[in-house]
Subunit: 416 residues, 2 copies
């Protein structure tokens, strides 16, 4: 089953006729496979299908999934496909298309009905049956008082319909709300605090636009999940392993050029000590050790801080203690690795002074790594930037430039 999914996805991505390949799948597989494909391949599949075929695919999807598919089409095809759907379906999709896919409204679903608090279970049952007949799905039932949402009526309370005069407001579960334009991340936050509820999406007037289920959120969370390492390495979040080579180049070269700047800063630092290196070539051999260890330690501190920011365990304002701990941890790890390097350098090169210089450089560079590794993401977060993406540039620059400066500078003073 797993291998099967892999094969199918790869096969579609590599095919000259991805649309035909895709349509050869049984319907239930189509739904699953399509939404697992990277966006670039989804577009290829749709491009390779004619309008009738796209329409056939779209009409069998839930409105919110259908909206995601229609959103990938160019405007002409969009109009042609929508024009051929039943009016009710078309209107729902057109409504959902108005919202950003990364907002609360982009995640929401139209599977709900609303009833007034004064209505009885008979009326609720009637609305539910009508919705079910039209959509094939049991809706979430929201109870309102005028425009205000009072809560959700659990589905099983329908068993009370026909059993006399039960009052619906006595069976309400609280329904947390979000605004239609709130970003995914804030919706996830609301869900975290109310894990067993459905979330109501409201527009500016506080009227209900839709409902978000846990499974809609899961997709958003999974997407967020894959992004950290991407952001960290400067890969465009849309990139997929199945993309072609030139697509990959287009998505990465800018980051590499930015890093080239960083690398040249490090090179310039080394350049300051050209004479020192000329006098003692041995130093060039230990340069990768100093830089590599600083980079690794800084990345560790950064990873922990970025996760702490994401989990809201820390902010710049409350971070002083955490930064202090990173610096202290850097110092201790610096002593551990510095002693090892110093011993090796002393034994191999018969120079205790070289060992001392590189050991001290190691301790200082790991302190720098801890300090910047924790501080940079916190500052970026405070300034409103994404800490995972940009932090590495600054941290690597700090550990490379300061690391080389300390190591070669110490060497110049002590060894020459």
């Amino acid at each position: 089953m797993q291998e099967f999914t892999i094969d199918v996805q790869q096969q579609i991505a590599a095919s000259e006729t991805p649309g035909a390949e895709f349509q050869a799948l049984p319907w239930t597989r189509q739904r699953v496979v399509f939404f697992q494909l990277p966006e670039s391949v989804q577009r290829d599949v749709l491009d390779d299908m004619d309008r009738q075929e796209v329409r056939r695919f779209v009409r069998r999807l839930d409105p919110d999934d259908a909206t995601d598919v229609v959103g990938l089409l160019d405007e002409d095809t969009q109009g042609a496909v929508l024009g051929q759907l039943e009016t009710d379906r078309r209107e729902r999709i057109e409504f959902l298309l108005k919202f950003s896919p990364d907002s609360a409204a982009g995640m929401m679903d139209l599977g709900y009905v609303t009833v007034d608090k004064d209505q009885g279970f008979e009326e609720v049952a009637r609305l539910v049956r009508r919705h079910e007949a039209r959509t094939g799905r049991f809706p979430t039932v929201f109870v309102t008082d005028g425009d205000e949402v009072l809560g959700e009526l659990p589905g099983h309370t329908l068993a009370l319909a026909g059993h006399g005069s039960a009052v619906i407001t006595e069976y309400l579960r609280p329904a947390p709300t979000v605004r239609y334009e709130q970003p995914d991340s804030e919706v996830i936050e609301v869900f975290r605090a109310n894990p067993q509820s459905k979330i109501v999406v409201l527009d500016e007037d506080d009227s209900i636009l839709g409902v978000i289920y846990a499974d809609d959120l899961l997709q958003a969370i999974e997407e967020e999940a894959g992004q950290t390492l991407y952001e960290f390495t400067g890969v465009d979040e849309q990139e997929s392993v199945l993309d072609g080579a030139f697509e990959k180049v287009r998505r990465r070269y800018k980051w590499l050029i930015i890093n080239l700047g960083t690398a040249f800063l490090a090179a310039a630092t080394v350049g300051l000590f050209e004479d020192t290196i000329a006098a003692l070539t041995l130093l060039a051999i230990y340069m990768p050790v100093v830089a590599g260890m600083g980079g690794n330690a800084g990345t560790q501190s950064m990873a922990v801080t970025v996760r702490g920011i994401a989990l809201e365990q820390i902010s710049l304002r409350t971070g002083r203690r955490a930064i202090g701990n990173e610096v202290l941890a850097g110092a201790v790890n610096g002593v551990i690795t510095g002693v090892i390097v110093a011993v090796i350098a002393t034994l191999f090169n018969q120079s205790p002074l070289l060992g001392l210089v590189i050991g001290i450089a190691m301790v200082l560079n790991l302190v720098i790594a801890g300090f910047f590794g924790a501080l940079v993401p916190l500052v970026l977060d405070r300034l409103g930037y994404d800490p995972a993406t940009s932090a590495t540039i600054f941290i690597t620059t700090a550990t490379d430039v300061l690391g080389f400066f300390i190591f070669l500078g110490l060497a110049q003073v002590v060894l020459l």
Copy 2:
């Protein structure tokens, strides 16, 4: 609200009396805050509470959440706390404690009832009412034929109770199943293919052990999400930004020592060319450029491949084309950045030959980065290792060692 959560978590983590601090929160906040705290702080909180207080906290939680809390206690306290709970509750928790928290059984919930396919809606309604009276929660209803699970009966079908002779098997929704010992990641996989279902957890005999809801999965997915960058940087997955400095050292020093090995391999490679560097110190200045760019490009290829593996879009068997694309992308990016570096080196150092050498080294190193960046995670995945954790070591070693070798080797041949 966000700042409030941050403050509370930090305050508890930093407090001398974390248990008292925690218990000062209103109950609804306690539940949310506790499960957001890092595990080390959760333990501190529980250590600082006496058995009565722990019991008071545990008795108000759902059995699966209660199990997570009880699982953090030492054996003595565990016994004392469990011994004072109502029998029904205690038995449920004791049952759940038997399973690994990272397995399907560790995520599951006991909020279900089973009915035989031949029973009527009246019997279903009776079981549901009994379960609700006992637990305060509406259960999921599974319909079985002997031991075989036929499906789930949607809650709203209870409206059919008392309306004559409806047959329950006509209202079934399919219920996907997992084995109790399957890891989180496989359960998430099943959920992806069946996003709107509850998942049944079965034991070896195919009898039902529990049910997994979307919100149980969410926690697992969020945990998985935070882990990639951790694995990538060699940080222990339990580490939190709120941990103390020595906790941090304990969790990281091993990875740093492993990386020291890598760094020494790079140093040894440079050592082979000590005479070359002595003759042309300029080379030492460009070393960080070659190594840095190779490392960055390799990490990009790795990030994309690791995500592709996680999304099951690729495996070693089907990966040839993707590896080819990474190599080609590396070559193109190598030419782009290589030309920039060559021009700069030529202008700054008045040596077109040095520019040529460093430009060619850049192209070759980015090809190496693309090749190993894609291949290493795929091989590790095939061998059953986690690709995110160990891949960087191998990829960095490849780009450093081969990068220095090519750059300095070429320089020796061309420039001396």
